[in-house]
């Protein structure tokens, strides 16, 4: 199929295409002001998903102003010089759009999914708030209360949320991953209008965003709309703070916290490689081998066989820098966490001694493949994958490469990676004890 790019959008430069699986491709454009535009034509449903991924997250904040990236995400739904307070949401609802946003350590993203005829409106709204947001004291005060309530819901009244916050605070001494994305409550209470305006000016610029448009679109039409809406916005000098390299951890760190909880919990965090590191994929496979499915090693032993835990799961941080491989264990009421910890240590050592069998590895790879396809089962999900991998790894189609890397993994590599990372001197442990037992 020939692709004609007429160049009517003079500011938009076509860079190239890259395959998205076997049946689709992502087209890349760059505007003169540095905005990156990725387009996936996908006619499986008459909808479009529009994502804006900004390269700023909580790790780019400074001490004393933690949580500002997330707080600012809230403010982005307020008035602009062209739209009154509340108009952004009401206009989108009137065209049948669903919209939301998310902030994490390395990025902040905004999205809308909507019937295809609403595309011109969505492009206009997104460009408008990227450049013309009005930051007023009233909205700052109101959103401050909202975010404080969000923190209460996610952290202060939530056992897992609190334990997770303690884990990162203890595991990282220098790197800005040590503070929570929602921010410390003391910092949230102190944001000023000036803080918010400065943050906006510093990070919300066309040369700091990737716009992803996926769905039932005409590529040239998208380029024209985006160029028209964003083309005149000047780039900014985006100064992302230099990340401090976390010193190598040389001994275990451990903390006990007493919370209102029905049972003991244990969270173990081992330093894990960044997303771009070749070991990251192997560590994800290890996490699945140990925790994914009822027949996985630790779920079988902890939940089914010994009945020590109500649940056991693992994850690997999808971060730009060194993160954590985390294991989360919820004990049955009355059961001591140290029993489960002993089994975890046994299984980690076993993995370090003996490579998994080909059959076990194939099981994990098959489940990874299933999970991957489930993760791209809608237009919105595909847009999200593209935006995430472009932002963190500069490769919008990396999700497919990652599945292939899983398929090619050798059992011996699994053993080597386990030996490199799953060691007690590189881990941080948070032990939650029910308050009544203090």
């Amino acid at each position: 199929m020939s692709r004609t790019r007429t160049g009517r959008a003079q500011n938009a430069r076509f860079i190239g295409t890259s395959p998205f699986g076997e049946r689709a491709a992502v087209s890349r454009y760059t505007l003169q002001n540095g905005l990156t535009l990725l387009i996936l034509v996908d006619r499986t449903a008459p909808v479009i998903s529009y994502h804006s991924w900004f390269r700023v997250g909580s790790a780019d904040e400074e001490q004393g102003k933690t949580g500002l990236a997330h707080f600012f995400e809230h403010l982005m739904f307020n008035e602009t010089t062209n739209r009154s307070q509340g108009e952004f949401d009401s206009v989108l609802e009137s065209v049948g759009a669903e919209n939301n946003a998310a902030t994490w350590t390395d990025w902040t993203m905004y999205y809308e999914t909507f019937p295809k005829k609403a595309l011109p409106l969505v492009v206009e709204l997104e460009a408008d708030r990227m450049r013309n947001l009005v930051v007023r004291e009233k909205q700052v005060n109101s959103e401050r209360e909202v975010v404080m309530n969000e923190r209460r819901m996610r952290v202060e009244d939530d056992v897992e949320g609190y334990a997770s916050e303690r884990l990162y605070a203890l595991a990282f001494k220098k790197h800005s991953y040590r503070w929570p994305t929602i921010g410390w409550m003391r910092d949230i209470k102190r944001y000023s209008v000036h803080d918010c305006q400065a943050f906006y000016n510093r990070f919300y610029a066309p040369n700091n965003v990737t716009v992803v448009v996926a769905g039932d679109v005409d590529e040239e039409h998208v380029v024209q709309l985006v160029n028209k809406a964003y083309g005149r916005i000047s780039p900014a000098t985006v100064r992302r703070p230099k990340r401090v390299i976390e010193p190598v951890q040389r001994s275990e760190r451990r903390e006990t916290v007493r919370l209102q909880s029905s049972s003991e919990r244990l969270v173990l965090g081992y330093k894990s490689p960044a997303m771009h590191h070749p070991d990251n994929v192997a560590l994800s496979v290890i996490s699945d081998l140990l925790f994914s499915g009822s027949s996985s090693r630790l779920v079988h032993r902890l939940v089914n066989e010994t009945e020590l835990c109500t649940s056991a799961y693992g994850s690997v941080s999808p971060f730009e820098d060194t993160g954590l491989f985390s294991a989360w264990l919820s004990m049955r009421p009355g059961v001591a966490a140290k029993k489960a910890e002993k089994i975890v240590n046994e299984e980690f050592r076993r993995l370090q001694r003996e490579k998994p069998s080909e059959a076990e590895l194939e099981k994990v790879v098959n489940r990874t493949e299933l999970a991957f396809f489930q993760s791209i089962d809608s237009i919105s999900a595909r847009a999200e994958q593209i935006g995430f991998y472009e932002t963190v790894l500069r490769d919008p189609n990396h999700a497919f490469a990652r599945v292939n890397q899983c398929r090619e993994l050798r059992p011996e590599t699994v053993r080597e990676v386990a030996s490199r990372y799953l060691n007690a001197d590189q881990r941080t442990v948070i032990h939650v004890v029910p308050e009544s037992r203090s």
Binding site: R23, S94, G96, E98, R144
Partner: protein
């Protein structure tokens, strides 16, 4: 050419066995999502045996005779398959996701489990212990506790008050023979709805459905009838006391709609304007203007008999009583004065225009069609959604609100530290009773 935006007709095939089959083909990705549903749920739990339907489904999930539970799990997972069970008041659904290349092998395993479930005493005991441990742990989830208390207070002895999981006492009471009898009674050919979405053709799905259903018993039994729900009088407050909470999980509501109510669409439009969207009154007043809660929505459910209507918010402890006061006043004004024409238009437009997002994948389309096949929704509510919504007038919407929602007969549940709330709560208008419940 892109797919049609709405479901214009529901296609249900019926097998000779009485089983029904629904298929949504989409070959974009090499996976298939199966949903094998039976029209039996927690409403069929005999009194005192709450959690039986759930326990039976979980038992089937452990696999067939002649294969250990671990071997069953291992074999499924090796195929790149994932099997989950979902039980609600009306239905039990076995959800099987599998790579295209392993469809036959995965369906064979599930078929064996459904046709000859092992239900070994050792597995059953283990399962019961696990479910009881999960029930005991659920007290850590304030939202879950609040919603359970709300349903229990609103419905009392009515079946809608029962939880799907049951209680520790009721689960412990269940014996192997009870489980086997329940499975034999309810898991029959005519009660099966076989759904498939993804990389699968209609004929292949029919063949698989035949394989599953023909090995099931052919018994036909009636689904239990749900009795009518008595109205509640006065405003009943229940504080679920949890110490040291910084925030209250708040549920305020009463009886809502039945699926067969002629004014369901009108009430849905009205509720959307009141609290069913971000631009709705409730979110704007509670969150946008005052910052009192991260979320503030009103939920309109419908069922065979009157399902609940309720508002959910989560204010800080210091703002809780003011928030309750505000929500009660807003509910009263909504019922008395209704919604404006502008609100009506916005609400209708939102519901109609966003409908396409409800059906943007084969799996979503399958879900809607299965609800029709299971008689949870009449077909007209799916295929005529747009025209029925468009036809709602302001008079219809306000009349429905006035008829169905009673702001004087409400349940107010607060999961919070009781000491912090009690003195001020007693002064709120129309409070008939205040009870403090402890977390079990």
């Amino acid at each position: 050419m892109s797919r049609r935006p709405a479901i214009s007709a529901v296609h249900i095939s019926k097998l000779r066995s009485g089983a029904r089959v629904v298929v949504q083909t989409d070959k974009m990705l090499p996976i298939v999502e199966f949903c094998l549903a039976f029209d039996v749920g927690s409403h069929a739990d005999p009194p005192g045996f709450d959690g039986l339907a759930n326990l039976c489904a979980q038992s089937i999930r452990k696999g067939p005779e002649g294969m250990s539970a671990i071997a069953f799990g291992e074999r499924l997972e090796s195929l790149g398959a994932q099997l989950g069970v979902q039980v609600n008041a009306r239905t039990t659904r076995f959800r099987l996701s599998v790579l295209r290349r392993n469809v036959d092998a995965a369906i064979d395993l599930l078929t064996e489990a459904l046709q000859s479930p092992a239900v070994r005493p050792s597995d059953l005991s283990k399962l019961k212990r696990r479910l009881c441990a999960n029930i005991a742990s659920s007290i850590d989830d304030d939202q879950w506790i609040g919603l359970q208390q709300f349903m229990s207070t609103l419905y009392g002895a009515h079946p809608y008050a029962r939880t799907v999981t049951g209680s520790v006492q009721s689960v412990r009471r269940i014996k192997q023979q009870t489980v086997l009898a329940f499975i034999r009674r309810h898991y029959s050919q005519s009660r099966l709805v076989f759904g498939a979405a993804g990389d699968i053709d209609h004929d292949e799905a029919l063949a698989l459905a035949r394989r599953v259903s023909e090995g099931l018993p052919s018994r036909k039994i009636q689904t239990p009838k749900i009795p009518a729900v008595p109205a509640i009088k006065g405003r009943r407050v229940v504080i679920v006391d949890k110490a040291d909470r910084t925030q209250t999980q708040l549920f305020i509501g009463g009886l809502g709609s039945r699926t067969r109510d002629r004014d369901l669409f009108a009430l849905r439009v009205s509720n959307t304007a009141f609290g069913g969207s971000f631009s709705g009154r409730l979110m704007q007043a509670v969150r946008a203007e005052r910052g009192w809660s991260y979320g503030a929505y009103s939920h309109l459910l419908h069922g065979e008999e009157r399902a609940p209507w309720y508002m959910s918010t989560a204010p800080g402890i210091a703002d809780t009583v003011d928030c309750i006061d505000l929500q009660l006043a807003m509910a009263e004004e909504w019922v008395q004065k209704g919604i404006t024409q502008q609100e009506l238009n916005a609400s209708k437009q939102h519901l109609i225009e966003s409908r396409v997002l409800d059906y943007d994948t084969a799996l979503h389309q399958l879900g809607a069609q299965m609800d029709v096949a299971l008689s949870i929704l009449p077909e007209s509510q799916v295929v005529d959604f747009e025209s029925k919504t468009r036809a709602v007038t302001r008079k219809d919407a306000n009349h429905a609100t006035h008829s169905r929602i009673d702001p004087k007969g409400l349940v107010i549940v607060a999961v919070a530290s009781a000491d912090a709330l009690l003195p001020r709560l007693e002064k709120l208008p129309g409070i008939a009773s205040i009870e403090v419940a402890t977390v079990a």
